[in-house]
């Protein structure tokens, strides 16, 4: 396992560092290569490669490609053959709305999301697959079309690093727009705090799934959003122009935590109901830990 950004490169997930594309790229490489992509099969492999035909098993073939259904039907051994010249496309959708600009510590959800997007893009490009990156808030603000050129990673990092979150969220609508842009099956990775209408979110996810794409949702949340640790009297100024509220947080902390837990539960349920992977990404957890944790899980679930 690669060292986390906190151990190997303590500055890389630093907000200033993440604002620099170069640093983002270094981070992504560290995280991904630390996962020993070169030594293990990519967790994304085998899923995006299309089946082409069957042929009879010959000595030396990889028994993993045996089609057991055919064996069961015909009692004869056949392996699956794939169209290996077809790469999959990973659409990385990063929520760049203003709500992502919150962070109780030094790192905001935006910083975390950018780093995560960079890592995922790098991972996909490294294995010679294609990656497209979209930055969304109330519309698709930036779209970097698919590329399988690893050299383009710097451009992607620069665009990610430079983008300032400042608009409201219309997540569901953006997902619908992205779904129209997906031409072939692939993976759609949504990195967001999901602070939008849950119904439209579900519709967006369903649309992407209908388009044949796998969806992975990284639900980015700040630890303060999860634990609500505030004391005294606090004036909460809402991001995305959601108003101002003054209250004593200690009096309502328990209720708030219950509400957030219920929200996460609902979102998880939406994902599971639509066959998506849901990952709660706490910005207090080192990025490498979050990502590698998911990748290990994915490898086990795909295998």
């Amino acid at each position: 396992m690669a060292k986390t950004e906190n151990e190997g490169s303590p500055g890389l997930l630093d907000p200033d560092a993440v604002s620099r594309g170069e640093a983002l790229g270094i981070l992504a490489r560290l995280v991904v290569e630390g996962y020993r992509v070169g030594e293990h099969r990519s967790p994304f492999q085998g899923f995006a490669i299309e089946f082409a035909q069957h042929r009879e098993y010959a000595m030396g073939d990889d028994p993993r490609h045996l089609d057991w259904k055919v064996i069961g039907r015909t009692d004869r051994y056949y392996i699956k053959q794939y169209r290996q010249d077809t790469n999959f496309v990973a659409h990385v959708i990063l929520d760049a709305s203003e709500s992502m600009d919150y962070g109780s510590g030094k790192i905001t959800k935006m910083h975390y999301g950018k780093a995560l997007a960079a890592c995922l893009s790098y991972l996909v490009l490294k294995q010679r697959d294609a990656s497209a990156v979209a930055l969304i808030d109330d519309e698709i603000r930036e779209y970097m079309p698919r590329t399988d050129n690893l050299g383009k990673i710097h451009h992607i990092m620069d665009r990610l690093a430079a983008y300032p979150p400042k608009q409201k969220t219309k997540l569901g609508q953006c997902l619908l727009d992205v779904a129209r842009m997906i031409k072939r099956k692939g993976i759609t990775i949504l990195i967001s705090d999901l602070l939008d209408d849950e119904e439209t979110l579900q519709q967006g996810i369903q649309r992407i799934r209908f388009a044949g794409s796998e969806v992975i949702v990284f639900h980015v949340m700040d630890p303060a959003e999860l634990t609500f640790p505030f004391r005294g009297t606090v004036k909460f100024i809402g991001l995305e122009e959601t108003g101002v509220l003054e209250t004593a947080p200690a009096d309502i902390a328990k209720s708030f935590r219950q509400e957030v837990e219920a929200f996460c539960g609902r979102v998880r349920e939406i994902c599971e109901r639509n066959g998506c992977h849901y990952v709660l990404a706490n910005t207090a957890t080192p990025l490498a830990e979050t990502l590698s944790g998911y990748l290990v899980f994915r490898k086990k679930s795909v295998a």
Binding site: V234, K235, D251, S255
Partner: protein
């Protein structure tokens, strides 16, 4: 309800503190940019009302706690059974403030006098504008602090605040008398007398006089009586202290009789009494196992002095809520020797047959080889060779059955006694022969406390006349009231003189007359028939003791009775303490002492009770018979020592002894009080309202409520703690 500490009511403004804290906390707000407003709004909306109510409840609790504490410190008071107190019109008033010893009784927070002072201040505060007031301090004397009514309330308040409790007895009647006299002398108008007292029975001993004053002034003066005590309080006091026994001589055991009185409804157990001399650490102590309710117990403690001179003895019991009567002092002069002249009626007889033989054995009850060291020195003379030019060298002179003496001797003896000497006269056969002298001599007769009527023989059927067997009232013979000490019943008289006590006017106990005349005649010991066997009288500054029979066994068996030696020793001791009364004053009474002329003009210093050092007290003045020391500041009970210049030994000591009756805190009989109040046309009305013109009774029993306020504040604080904890739990 009134407040005894109204100034503290400003503390109620502190109620603003929790409100200010509440507002400050609200102002100390941090701002946070927050993404999840939707969630927050929903929750706040659900809990807002509840949170507001909880905040309000806690704020109210905190404000109430502060308010209750402020009110408690302001000493809210309800006056029960009250009557109206203050007239709405300007009045000329007299405030009589009881400052007797019992007003020093404390409840742990304040004394009765403190409470009385607060009441007096409250009266002043409520007098109508234009009123004037005089202030008298009343104990067993009246001290007009502000003798005529003044409108200057600030000087009245200051005088009240500076008033201290005295250690004197109490008698309200004189104060009421003086106040009524003062007000009657003023022009017509509203007139009121306020009497603030603890209603002690002793203070009301002149209740009939007060009742008459109230009746005589009805309609002109309103009398208002306020009590600061509503129940009888227990009290232990040292109520008596006397020296007894023989002469106070160096290295000779001296007995001190101490009585402790228990004024309460319960027995007092294990009461420790300590005896100390000259303000030093205790030299003797004892424990009285039990003193029954409302009674006294007497103990005898012994001390010894190593040095001659004036000394003080103080008996002390453990402290209680009335401290001044927990000790009592007595002063004495300790001598290194005492000289006694025995004049034998028949000096030429064999020494054993002389009249003074038994007296000599009784007065020097030590082996012959110890006589030289014994403190009592005897000189034996006959009637013809009495050293008339220097009788003052003797502390006592005993005429042992002398038939008669010449005029010069009689005159010298008369001067000797009137100047303070002690004379004992034994009668007998010689006296019988010289009866004419004893019945008619112009110099001797005035000295005698009784007339010698004639000789009485024992009735033939009974053979002997005996002495009383009980009821020994005189201090000399009081120890024989204890059956363990036996009695005089076995003393037999074959013959005795019949003594008829001389009828003389009774003078006050503490004032030596200084005049050459007989006073204060009393029997020391009686025959079983009730006639005096031994009788004493005060002549000038000295004493004369007359015996009805012989000092030897020719007419009676007394000299060979076991009680004779202690009797004579105690009699000599009693006579030696004849100036003891002059060494005792009542608190506040001026102490007067005569000193030699050469000390006139010199400074004298006084060491007061409980003090280690002496302070300059005044100068010695010129008096009729030499220098005179006058010291007035004797208000504190205890022993005082007077010094001349830098001398370390006092030239005189005296004790200020409070009136023991003042230690009895019993309240006045309600019938007596009701009679006075009925005369004042009492009506029961609520306090706080404006009075009419008639006198009103103030039940005056203040019932302080601060305890309830403190308890309420405490309960509220606990409730606030519990609620704050519950409310702080996250919702």
């Amino acid at each position: 309800m009134s407040f005894l500490n109204p100034a503290v009511l400003f503390g109620v403004l502190l109620v603003g503190v929790p409100i200010a804290i509440h507002l400050l906390n609200k102002n100390r707000i941090q701002e946070i940019r927050w993404p999840m407003m939707k969630f927050l709004r929903n929750i706040v909306k659900r809990n807002e009302k509840k949170l507001r109510i909880e905040d309000l409840i806690l704020l109210i609790c905190r404000c109430l706690i502060v308010a209750l504490l402020a009110l408690a410190f302001a000493r809210p008071t309800l006056w029960f059974g009250g009557g109206t107190l203050i007239s709405a019109d300007p009045v000329a008033a007299v405030l009589l403030l009881d400052v007797s010893g019992s007003m020093g009784y404390g409840n742990g927070v304040e004394t009765r006098l403190d409470s009385a002072k607060k009441t007096a201040l409250e009266i002043l505060a409520n007098l109508a504008s234009g009123s004037s007031c005089a202030l008298y301090l009343v104990s067993d004397q009246v001290q007009p602090l502000i003798p005529r009514p003044t409108t200057d309330m600030s000087i009245l308040r200051k005088s009240i605040l500076n008033t201290q409790v005295s250690e004197r007895g109490s008698d309200l009647s004189e104060g009421v008398q003086q106040a009524a006299t003062l007000l009657k002398s003023l022009p017509d108008g509203e007139k009121e007398i306020f009497v603030i007292t603890d209603n002690q029975a002793e203070a009301w001993k002149g209740s009939r006089k007060i009742q008459k004053l109230v009746e005589d002034n009805s309609g002109q003066i309103a009398f208002k009586f306020i009590s600061v005590a509503d129940r009888v309080e227990p009290n232990l006091a040292v109520t008596q202290m006397e020296l007894e026994g023989g002469v106070a001589a160096v290295n000779t055991p001296l007995s001190c009789r101490v009585a402790v009185s228990n004024w309460s409804g319960q027995a007092a157990a294990n009461v420790r009494i300590t005896l100390s001399a000259d303000g030093d650490s205790p030299m003797n102590e004892t424990v009285i196992p039990s003193i029954p309710p409302n009674s006294s117990q007497t103990v005898i403690l012994e001390v010894k002095f190593r040095d001659p001179g004036y000394h003080s003895l103080t008996a002390t019991i453990p402290p209680d809520r009335l401290p001044y009567d927990n000790q009592r002092a007595v002063c004495l002069q300790v001598v290194d020797e005492s000289r006694v002249l025995i004049v034998d009626g028949t000096p030429t007889a064999d020494p054993v047959d002389r009249e003074g033989f038994f007296l000599a054995q009784a007065l020097q009850p030590v082996p012959k080889d110890k006589i030289a060291d014994y403190y009592l020195k005897l000189v034996r003379k006959g009637p013809e060779n009495i050293p008339l030019d220097n009788l003052g060298q003797f502390d006592s002179i005993i005429l042992a059955d002398v038939a008669q003496v010449n005029a010069a001797t009689t005159s010298a003896i008369s001067s000797y006694v009137s100047s303070g000497g002690s004379l004992m006269i034994f009668t007998g056969p010689n006296t019988e022969r010289g009866l004419n002298f004893w019945q008619k001599d112009s110099h001797m007769l005035p000295l005698l406390p009784a007339k010698l009527l004639g000789v009485v023989d024992a009735p033939t059927d009974k053979k002997y006349i005996t002495l009383q067997t009980k009821g020994y009232g005189h201090p000399v013979v009081s120890i024989w009231n204890d059956p363990q000490n036996g009695n005089f019943g076995e003393v037999k008289y074959a013959r005795h003189f019949s003594l008829e006590p001389v009828d003389v006017p009774t003078l006050p106990a503490n004032v030596p007359t200084g005049e050459a005349r007989l006073s204060r005649v009393q029997s020391i010991l009686d025959f079983s028939t009730g006639k005096p066997a031994v009788i004493e009288g005060t002549f000038g500054l000295g004493k004369v003791v007359l015996f009805a029979s012989t000092p030897n066994t020719s007419w009676n068996t007394f000299p060979i009775h076991p009680a004779f030696v202690p009797f004579m020793q105690r009699l000599l001791g009693y006579l030696s303490r004849r100036f003891g009364d002059a060494l005792i004053v009542s608190p506040g009474q001026t102490f007067i002492h005569t000193v030699p002329t050469e000390f006139i003009g010199q400074n004298f210093f006084v060491r007061r009770p409980e003090q280690k050092n002496s302070n300059l007290a005044g100068k010695i003045e010129e008096g009729t018979h030499g220098g005179v020391v006058r010291y007035r500041d004797t208000g504190a009970a205890g022993a005082y020592a007077l010094f001349m210049g830098e001398k370390k030994k006092p030239f005189i000591v005296f004790a200020s002894q409070p009136d023991p009756r003042e230690s009895d805190l019993s309240l006045v009989d309600s019938k007596e009080l009701d009679a006075v109040l009925a005369a004042a046309k009492v009506s029961e009305e609520k306090l706080g309202q404006v009075s009419g013109k008639t006198g009103h009774r103030l039940s005056g029993t203040p019932h302080e409520l601060w305890v309830y306020f403190i308890v309420l504040a405490f309960l509220l604080a606990i409730a606030e703690l519990v609620m704050a904890h519950r409310f702080s739990m996250p919702k």
